[in-house]
Symmetry: C3
């Protein structure tokens, strides 16, 4: 499965999270589409602008536009009851985080960035869409909640970056990296894992 | 009337909306200028960065900087009473939306983007300045209010994109597109038009 | 002392402000690192993307990544008591503002932008990191508080731009510009300097 397929799946699941937040905010169908689009495409836009790959992939290939629109429409018609919305947002968001941190790191390496920079860019790609979604809809940005969020994205990106630095590019490395990020993020939510807090006095 | 004149008028009217919001928030004269600048130039910056036209037009041509500064100063000295501010914001914002969705789509086509991408980029150009203005000033972003907002921008952009795809580039098409977006947006506010809401249960 | 050293110091002090805000919000150690990174690197990312210098310096040179991480860790372990946090944020933020408005303007001139555009880009570089920090952490963006903020940045940038236009590039001009911005900003806070407000009636 090629890089752009993972990218499209990431756009789809992030699009769903945007639309679910829109449903929760009781936006109308167009507002929900806007949130699905910016959440699905935002991380990739930031990634492509930063590495100088403009216009971004999503503006050169119509499938990148159709996917979040479909995600928005599916969510609009088939969303669950209000009480289950937030849990679904978290699950799909974790999937998008895993997919985008990997595709972002791979694309950054393909554009010649150093390993450390590629890992950072993968992390930015992963967290970008969710941050834009939360800023626009007036939620506390997910990276700033007291939850493990950027760290699993950095871990997932690091896995593919290390494999790339060793010139080992088997596709299963990408799958492992996506799953690692996704699993750690979900476990962190379920178990309420906490990182150390600053001391106060 | 050339593309860049429409662009400058768009910057002027969006600059006015930024300054009016600043007046409403009781910012000082410099804060009002900052809001006029970011609102006037924000949509074009996003457009130019996404299509790779950097530095953006506004950083290459001094008129693009003078226009929002004048808009801010005029508004600072001549703004109406508080009670009429919000209505004026809406009217000027609708004009900027119409102008930018058209100039954004035209510029995207000139840079070789596909019709669908050009329509999306026009929409992003149109809504960008207002979103930045609302985020900075702590208002609910205009695209996420339960009002028709992104849709007229997409319609206006689509008109010039379809005409462009048919290689029909008479200037009146642009005027019609601007007016279509502007009129639909204003009617949507006045009449309280609503798009379908998600079901809740 | 070369341009990139001033840049790195700017990243360090802005990184500290981001981390201090994170401590104040009681974020965990990873959330504090995220805020340190986006605040330290945000202004430079915006600058480099706008002038087309992609990938940004911070993604090409590992020192640009290490500096804000160190700033975040130092702040996490050594931050002062809660009651002194806000004052420290203001002081380090004023230092970052002075450093970035100067390095931003110098880099913009090196990329061939006109004097007015270079001054504006320096201002944007200076205020960018703080605005991102405040948006993410739910504070009123510093440019929109009723305080002198963008103006000293514009002054500092103008000093190096005027010197550059006169082809006088002695390094002490940059130091004077940094100090001018820093001093005016701090005096504005201490003395509560106000710019004129819009009339209301």
């Amino acid at each position: 499965m090629a890089l752009h397929v993972l990218d499209l799946i990431g756009i789809f699941v992030f699009g769903i999270t945007g639309a679910l937040v829109g449903v929760r905010k009781q936006l109308d169908v167009f507002g929900i589409q806007v949130l699905a689009l910016v959440t699905g495409l935002g991380g990739g836009f930031i990634r492509d602008v930063l590495i100088g790959a403009t216009p971004p992939a999503a503006l050169k290939d119509w499938r990148y536009l159709v996917v979040p629109i479909v995600a928005g429409l599916v969510t609009f018609f088939l969303h669950p009851g209000i009480e289950r919305l937030e849990r679904l947002v978290n699950i799909f968001d974790a999937a998008g985080l895993g997919l985008f941190c990997v595709t972002g790191a791979l694309k950054a390496m393909a554009y010649g960035l150093s390993p450390l920079s590629a890992a950072l860019l993968g992390t930015i790609s992963g967290i970008g869409g969710g941050v834009i979604r939360d800023l626009l809809s007036g939620r506390v940005p997910v990276v700033l909640r007291r939850e493990i969020y950027a760290t699993p994205a950095f871990l997932g990106a690091t896995i593919v970056v290390v494999a790339g630095a060793l010139e080992y590019d088997a596709i299963w490395v990408s799958y492992v990296a996506v799953l690692t990020c996704f699993t750690i993020r979900l476990l962190a939510i379920r178990r309420g894992w906490n990182a150390p807090l600053p001391r106060t006095h």
